[in-house]
């Protein structure tokens, strides 16, 4: 058996890890900003769409058993096309991870390390990449299997610990700013299911490829439930028109948790869990980028590129001049890049490959 094969649970938590890392940043607030009080309804709506989309991807993948998007692109347009697609995905993974890292580091600087240079905070996360990437591909994925449930539990804990501050009436008006904002403008919120990007690379990695549809849909549904919890926290605790602290909204909520006179400020503990999950997310991104790079360049061992990759990631993370610029990327540019690459380019590629395959089969008949 291939040593890098993933079990069902590992694959599900892999899909979740992207959502988890993003929600630790400003995702929940960004969702609420777009759809206001109808965010919960919007999440249900985009969940249905994401599930349909995932079903469609898995259906198309059935024609190409054991192949990922790179193999399919090679089938479609040869090696050069495969390289182009590979580099697009590496670009997407690296850029998004680095900008998220910068944002997270900026938030940590504001919250805990005001006198520390941002480079040191970023460097801490970057150091973990080569260390864990040198272990093996499965190491960070399995670590993710332990860490993601912890994050989920932390959110559930936050939810119930803050339940006394909830004002359920805040979900009204149920359609927020109106039907158009909820169902048409709010369609862009589908970018919150960023874990879908990994589904394109899962088929050859799974122990049981036949379970691709099941695990992908399960991953999306759990992500959706998680998002509902997170958004509920923000929506029920703060008025939508009141600007919530722009730095780590979940952290702000965690500051409200208190049990008696002893446990009054537990936000650091939550932040500890979230930063572990964020480091795990970075490591997963790095591992997938190495895997893609290995596939397109046919190198035998990825170890020599680990350090250059880490330095590159550090450089990209330090590119934005300040928090405002990196935040703008996260909230204004990233969603469109994600939707463009994951929902349009990749789907179009799969569809064309599917049609080509069908035509080829018909010709053979």
């Amino acid at each position: 058996m291939d040593k890098t094969k993933l079990g069902t649970f590992e694959a599900i938590t892999l899909i979740l890890s992207f959502v988890v890392a993003h929600t630790v940043l400003s995702l929940p607030k960004a969702l609420v900003d777009v759809t206001k009080s109808s965010t919960l309804l919007n999440i249900l709506y985009i969940t249905v769409l994401a599930v349909i989309f995932v079903y469609l991807i898995c259906f198309l993948f059935k024609k190409f058993p054991g192949m990922d998007i790179l193999d399919i692109s090679e089938y479609l347009g040869g090696k050069i096309f495969k390289n182009i697609v590979g580099f697009i995905f590496i670009f997407y993974f690296v850029i998004s991870a680095c900008i998220f890292l910068r944002n997270f580091a900026e938030c940590l600087e504001i919250v805990y390390y005001p006198s520390t240079d941002i480079i040191f905070i970023v460097l801490f996360f970057i150091i973990s990449i080569p260390i864990t990437s040198k272990l093996n591909f499965n190491a960070s994925l399995r670590a993710n299997l332990i860490i993601v449930p912890l994050v989920l539990m932390s959110i559930v804990f936050l939810f119930f610990a803050n339940i006394r501050y909830f004002t359920p009436q805040r979900i009204f008006p149920i359609l927020g700013n109106g039907f158009k904002d909820t169902f048409i403008v709010g369609l862009t919120n589908i970018y919150s299911f960023s874990g879908i990007a990994l589904i394109y690379f899962l088929p050859p990695l799974l122990k049981e490829p036949s379970k691709l549809t099941k695990l992908s849909v399960t991953g999306i549904i759990i992500s959706s439930i998680y998002l509902l919890f997170v958004v509920s926290l923000i929506l029920f605790m703060f008025p939508v028109f009141v600007s919530l602290d722009e730095v780590l909204p979940l952290y702000t909520i965690a500051t409200y948790v208190e049990f008696g006179s002893f446990f009054q400020r537990l936000e650091s503990v939550f932040l500890l869990i979230w930063l572990i999950s964020f480091a795990c997310y970075l490591s997963i991104i790095a591992n997938f980028s190495f895997k893609i790079f290995k596939k397109i360049t046919l190198i035998k061992d990825t170890k020599p590129i680990i350090y250059p990759f880490a330095i590159l990631a550090l450089g990209i993370a330090l590119l934005p001049k300040n928090y405002a610029i990196s935040k703008m990327y996260e909230t204004k540019i990233y969603p469109y890049i994600m939707i463009g690459i994951v929902f349009f380019v990749s789907l179009a590629l799969l569809l064309i490959a599917y049609i080509k395959k069908r035509k080829g089969e018909k010709l053979n008949e």
């Binding site: 079990g7 499965n138 399995r142």
Partner: protein, 557 residues
């Protein structure tokens, strides 16, 4: 005495310092040199004088005082045949040698009735060779050596190995082999209670240094012929006997083969203890976490044997090593299966808590006091600050002083002679702790942190695992000091990733949790004994069922 001597003695004396330096020859390899010099022939000779010369030369009988070579004559049918025995004094039972080897051979060999019968049967039966050698061999083996364990050894290396392990060798003129007689009789420790893995409820016997005693303990508990005990010799010089034990009908064949492969491919001169073997056959990992369980308890060993694991016992070491060793095994105690599952699970949760405390508490304390003070209630923060007010050192220095002092006390406590042991505790805990606080070197809260960490480290059932945690605690202290929870968080992630990357004999270290596998209720939480119907999937055992689906049939009759 002349004047010069007097002056030399009283006024000036030339300093004559005794100085010994070991000469190092550039090209010599001592071990090879000895082997080449001896150039031992493979098989024995017919001539007794040749054999005795080789044996004497091999054992350096002129220098070695405990090598006993006794030459004598055996009388068979009025014919005197020259013979000799060789054994190591102190390793054999001299009573057995005198009464059951020398006495029959030297005194009872004149035309006894059995010899006559043997001679007649040889004459009648054509299948028997009539050669004198065979007659001699048979008459000695069948009538003159009243021993239950006699082997014929033709090669010098084998008979020498047997002599070294406490056997007596009998060489007879004209026979190209020697009789290997098992007359071992060296002094050894009797079975006693475990010293390092103490439990309240359960068997109270521990392994000893003798390999056969240890294997007999396993046989006695398992009481099944499917228990296989294979012997291998490790070490070119020591040829240490090791027993590879497994249940033929349970253990995975690949696992057995892997253990044998690793053990049979060791090129070492000596093996003195199971700890060395553990290091030689385990995979390397960056964090030095143990991948093989080591225990002095036969009951624990048996439990793992029945789960489908492979055990190795090294002669001369009262510990068995168990493969593969997984994370959940290092957090389990032999007592867990002897008490009700509620209590066992409670204890396991306590151990998990103790692991977290041992590894992280000092680091978290440093992180909180330096970066995350808001986590503490105001009153507690005030009391910590007021306690630290008179301490002139930074927290990191303070905690390192105390942690290293604690390690010193612990190490001294282990090495110190037992009558002085309690003194170390008193000096360490009371005098040093109290004095350090009074002298404002450390704060009282830090004493509590260090003490709690120390106590928690003692709750880890496995010594090697506890050691690993003790070492890594320092890494988390440094990380906490550098970057607070950020450093600790990254440290935890790297640590967990490392754990996830480790495999012990082909089994993932954190199984059944990462990767998630169906453990058939063999995970960290123990189900009631009647629910333990299957063996763990991750060991891929031949026999999946551990008991019937309904084990307590009496309830349904």
């Amino acid at each position: 005495m002349n004047l010069k001597n007097i002056l030399n003695n009283f006024l000036w004396r030339k300093e004559e310092k005794y100085d010994f330096t070991l000469c190092q020859s550039k090209n010599s390899n001592n071990a090879n040199y000895i082997d080449d010099q001896l150039n031992l022939p493979e098989n024995m000779f017919n001539s007794l004088s040749d054999n005795i010369n080789i044996i004497k030369s091999r054992f350096n009988s002129m220098i070695n005082t405990d090598i006993i070579i006794r030459e004598f004559y055996i009388n068979i049918n009025q014919r005197k045949i020259k013979a000799f025995i060789i054994f190591i004094d102190g390793m054999v039972d001299l009573n057995l040698v005198n009464n059951y080897i020398l006495k029959p051979l030297m005194l009872n060999t004149t035309n006894n009735s059995e010899n006559k019968i043997l001679k007649e049967s040889n004459k009648k039966n054509n299948k028997f060779t009539r050669s004198k050698k065979i007659f001699l061999e048979q008459s000695i083996s069948n009538t003159l050596l009243p021993q239950n364990n006699i082997k014929k050894q033709r090669s010098f290396s084998e008979i020498i190995s047997s002599i070294n392990s406490g056997d007596c060798a009998l060489f007879i003129d004209s026979l190209p082999f020697a009789f290997d007689l098992d007359v071992k009789g060296f002094k050894q420790r009797s079975i006693s209670t475990p010293n390092n893995e103490v439990i309240i409820k359960g068997p109270q016997e521990a392994f000893v240094e003798n390999l056969r005693t240890n294997t007999s303990m396993l046989r006695r508990i398992i009481n099944n012929e499917n228990l296989i005990i294979e012997n291998v010799n490790i070490g070119k010089i020591t040829k240490t006997k090791c027993a590879i034990c497994y249940m033929r009908n349970i253990a995975n064949d690949d696992l057995i083969a892997e253990v044998k492969y690793r053990i049979n491919n060791l090129e070492i001169d000596s093996l003195l203890a199971s700890g060395q073997l553990e290091q030689l056959i385990a995979n390397e990992n960056y964090i030095g976490i143990p991948e093989i369980i080591s225990t002095e308890r036969p009951d624990k060993t048996t439990k793992y044997l029945l789960q489908g694991r492979v055990i190795v016992i090294v002669n001369g070491c009262p510990y068995s090593i168990i493969m593969p060793g997984l994370f959940i095994d290092f957090m389990s105690s032999p007592e867990d299966s002897n008490i009700k599952p509620y209590f066992a699970n409670f204890l396991r949760l306590i151990r998990l808590l103790s692991l977290t405390i041992t590894l992280l508490l000092p680091g978290i304390y440093v992180a909180i006091t330096n970066f995350h003070q808001e986590i503490l209630p105001t009153e507690l923060l005030n009391s910590i600050l007021s306690a630290r007010q008179s301490v002139p050192f930074p927290v990191i220095f303070e905690i390192l002083i105390m942690e290293i002092s604690f390690e010193l006390i612990r190490e001294a406590g282990v090495r110190v002679p037992s009558p002085v042991g309690p003194t170390i505790g008193i000096v360490g805990a009371l005098v040093l702790g109290q004095a350090a606080v009074s002298a404002n070197i450390v704060s009282p809260i830090l004493i509590i942190i260090v003490a709690l960490t120390g106590i928690a480290s003692f709750a880890i059932p496995d010594f090697s695992f506890g050691f690993h945690l003790r070492i890594f605690r320092f890494a988390f202290i440094v990380l906490g000091y550098i970057a607070g929870f950020l450093g600790i968080g990254i440290g935890i992630f790297v640590y967990i990733s490392n754990l996830c990357s480790i495999k012990s004999f082909g089994v993932s270290y954190l199984v059944p949790y990462a990767p998630k596998e169906d453990s058939n209720k063999n995970g960290y939480i123990i189900p009631p004994i009647w629910k333990q119907e299957f063996r763990a999937n991750y060991l891929s055992t031949k026999r999946k069922e551990a008991q019937e689906k309904i084990s307590m049939k009496w309830r349904y009759k």
